[in-house]
């Protein structure tokens, strides 16, 4: 629940109704609650509206009552049965899953090497990798597209998936994050394993990696979310409908659905709800990951 860095004066909130021993509920605190609550209502209104509209039948859509009079799951049935939604979902799961696995493996290996080894060219390699963060995706998609076309990658099924995935298989941001974490590992530990005759890869895999599990969790969630929501490159590279990812499929379907807002809201809800469930489970790691990159930046 409380994942923020504890402030020294922090103590568990008093149970409701009891006056707090040290902090009276004074006017500024009350004002803070009011402002925050109003802000939350505004922030969450789009979600509520999306869900409630998705449960409205066609006759009810435009009469603007907040709650549906006769809630129906028909919009969801139509989206799931009459569109390729489940396939888009599976495509996104595959693309985001494979990309995340690849990023976790390679980024932690590069981060570990840059943090724990001393070798010529170490700093220049790190700076070169970081500098790729400045290159806008828009600049790269044109050469990528030309390359994918020349290699005729999209002709075969594995090739088509690979074409969607390849730009994200190793991420510079992840290298930066993992290097930060590996720097905090004590060298003696790795040295001791070396003395015991463990192979270098064994030391990395069996000793260093398990010690940075929280960082791996953060990186995994960020990478997965980023690829789950990726739009520009998939929109460009996907030519056959069966390879559409969730954002591309949803966008094109919504464009075709025209004025069938019930369907559009149901499709949007189906895209949003799984992500929010994952967020609810992992919010601690997500927020810690942001804190770490923001503070070390």
């Amino acid at each position: 629940m409380t994942t923020h860095p504890a402030r020294p004066d922090e103590r568990p909130a008093a149970t409701a109704g009891q006056p707090q021993p040290r902090r009276r509920v004074n006017t500024p605190t009350l004002l803070a609650y009011v402002v925050l609550s109003v802000g939350i209502v505004v922030t969450l209104f789009p979600f509520m509206w999306m869900l409630l509209t998705s449960l409205k039948g066609f006759q009810e859509l435009f009469n603007l009552s907040f709650l549906p009079a006769a809630p129906t799951l028909d919009n969801y049935r139509q989206v799931l049965v009459e569109t390729e939604f489940i396939r888009w979902f599976g495509n996104s799961l595959l693309v985001a899953g494979v990309t995340t696995a690849s990023v976790l493996f390679f980024d932690s290996m590069v981060g570990y090497t840059l943090a724990k080894f001393d070798f010529p060219g170490k700093n220049i390699i790190f700076i070169l990798i970081l500098s790729t963060l400045m290159i806008p995706t828009e600049m790269l998609v044109i050469p990528w597209f030309v390359g994918v076309s020349d290699l005729q990658l999209t002709q075969s099924t594995p090739g088509a998936y690979f074409a969607i995935m390849f730009p994200g298989l190793i991420s510079a941001f992840g290298v930066f994050l993992m290097r930060q974490f590996f720097e905090t590992l004590p060298d003696d530990l790795l040295e001791a394993a070396r003395i015991d005759g463990m192979s270098e890869f064994g030391i990395f895999w069996r000793i260093a990696l398990p010690l940075v599990r929280p960082a791996l969790a953060s990186l995994a969630i960020f990478t997965f979310l980023g690829n789950w929501n990726a739009f520009l490159w998939p929109l460009i590279v996907i030519q056959k409908p069966e390879f559409r990812t969730l954002p591309v499929g949803t966008a094109l379907f919504n464009g075709e659905a025209g004025t069938q807002w019930g369907l559009i809201m149901a499709a949007s809800s189906l895209a949003v709800i799984p992500v929010l469930i994952v967020f609810a489970i992992f919010q601690k790691q997500i927020i810690e990951g942001i804190v770490l990159t923001g503070m070390k930046g």
Partner: protein
């Protein structure tokens, strides 16, 4: 390593220099081989390729691809639509970045005042940040729909005439920026909470002893000490606004670029030129300009924030 007798705390190491260092270097480059090849093929070579493309008249549909030198760049400076896209993109950043920083700071300060429900509030504010952009954009369309949207219903209820929002050339950009701010707010709040937590309590205690009031404390202590966080937010925020694409495409799906091109961004214009008209050379020239702008902003950041790459 000066001690010759091995102790339990310092295990004997191979001789310094020579073999040890060679061994380290060999291992390091073995580990780095695949990632380095990846960065070369997927990032560096395409960057050079984009630079090269930008001096050719390269159209995928045509056989001939003549070298044209800086002609693409000359055309770009005379291109009214590109000018509009660039102005719009700047406007997005000028509206969006200050708005999300100001709102994020207010909410973070308020969250710092309360104790009960703090984690819940923070999580709820953060939810839009993880929401898929495409879905959020379509919900936004419906919320701001001129005839049926709940926002206009609310305005009528307040006796304000209904607005056209996304279908109005003057309001569409602000409506789009509002979506981006709504999505980024949670991220800003988390950054500011971290920044606030890093300010030593003793500063505030000293201010209290000196009899400073809340306003003075904010201007004299909180804001100056949050400066690194604010600079970081401005720079990363600006760079993300410069690449605005997904929201703009999905908010006016049937009218790409909005009414009279009023929401057109540089990224969307690049997309249209490259993948709508297949003019890869001209589109590449635009990406080079975008890259130079981002490079300039990053260098300014390095100037202001001497980044330390160590903990």
């Amino acid at each position: 390593m000066t001690s010759t007798a091995p102790t339990s705390t310092t295990p004997p190491r191979p001789r310094r220099g020579g073999s040890m260092r060679r061994h380290q270097t060999r291992t390091a480059y073995t580990f780095l081989l695949v990632p380095l090849i990846f960065f070369l093929i997927v990032r560096f070579l395409p960057t050079l390729s984009a630079l090269r493309l930008s001096v050719f008249d390269w159209n995928i549909l045509k056989e001939q691809q003549p070298f044209v030198g800086i002609e693409n760049y000359e055309r770009l400076f005379a291109d009214e639509k590109f000018g509009q896209a660039l102005r719009n993109t700047a406007l997005y950043a000028v509206i969006g970045v200050p708005a999300q920083i100001a709102l994020g700071l207010v909410v973070a300060l308020m969250l710092n005042r309360i104790q009960a429900l703090r984690g819940l509030f923070r999580a709820l504010y953060f939810a839009p940040y993880v929401t898929p952009i495409v879905a959020a954009a379509w919900v936004w369309q419906w919320l701001f729909s001129p005839q049926f949207g709940p926002i206009n219903t609310f305005l009528i209820w307040l006796n304000i005439p209904p607005q056209n929002f996304l279908t109005s050339p003057t309001q569409s950009l602000a409506t789009t920026a509002a979506l981006v701010v709504w999505q980024n707010l949670g991220f800003q709040i988390v950054l500011f909470l971290a920044g606030l937590a890093a300010i030593p309590r003793s500063y505030y205690e000293a201010a209290e002893i000196d009899g400073a009031n809340g306003t003075q404390t904010f201007w004299k202590i909180t804001l100056p000490l949050l400066n690194p966080t604010i600079v970081f937010s401005v720079v990363t925020g600006t760079i993300s606004y410069l690449q605005l694409f997904t929201q703009v495409v999905n908010l006016n799906f049937t009218d790409q670029g909005g009414p009279l091109g009023s929401t057109m961004t540089v990224a969307l214009y690049i997309y249209q030129i490259a993948f709508g008209r297949y003019q890869m050379g001209y589109a590449s020239a635009i990406t080079v300009v975008l890259f130079l702008i981002i490079l300039a902003i990053t260098l300014i950041q390095l100037r202001f924030l001497t980044r330390k790459y160590d903990l």
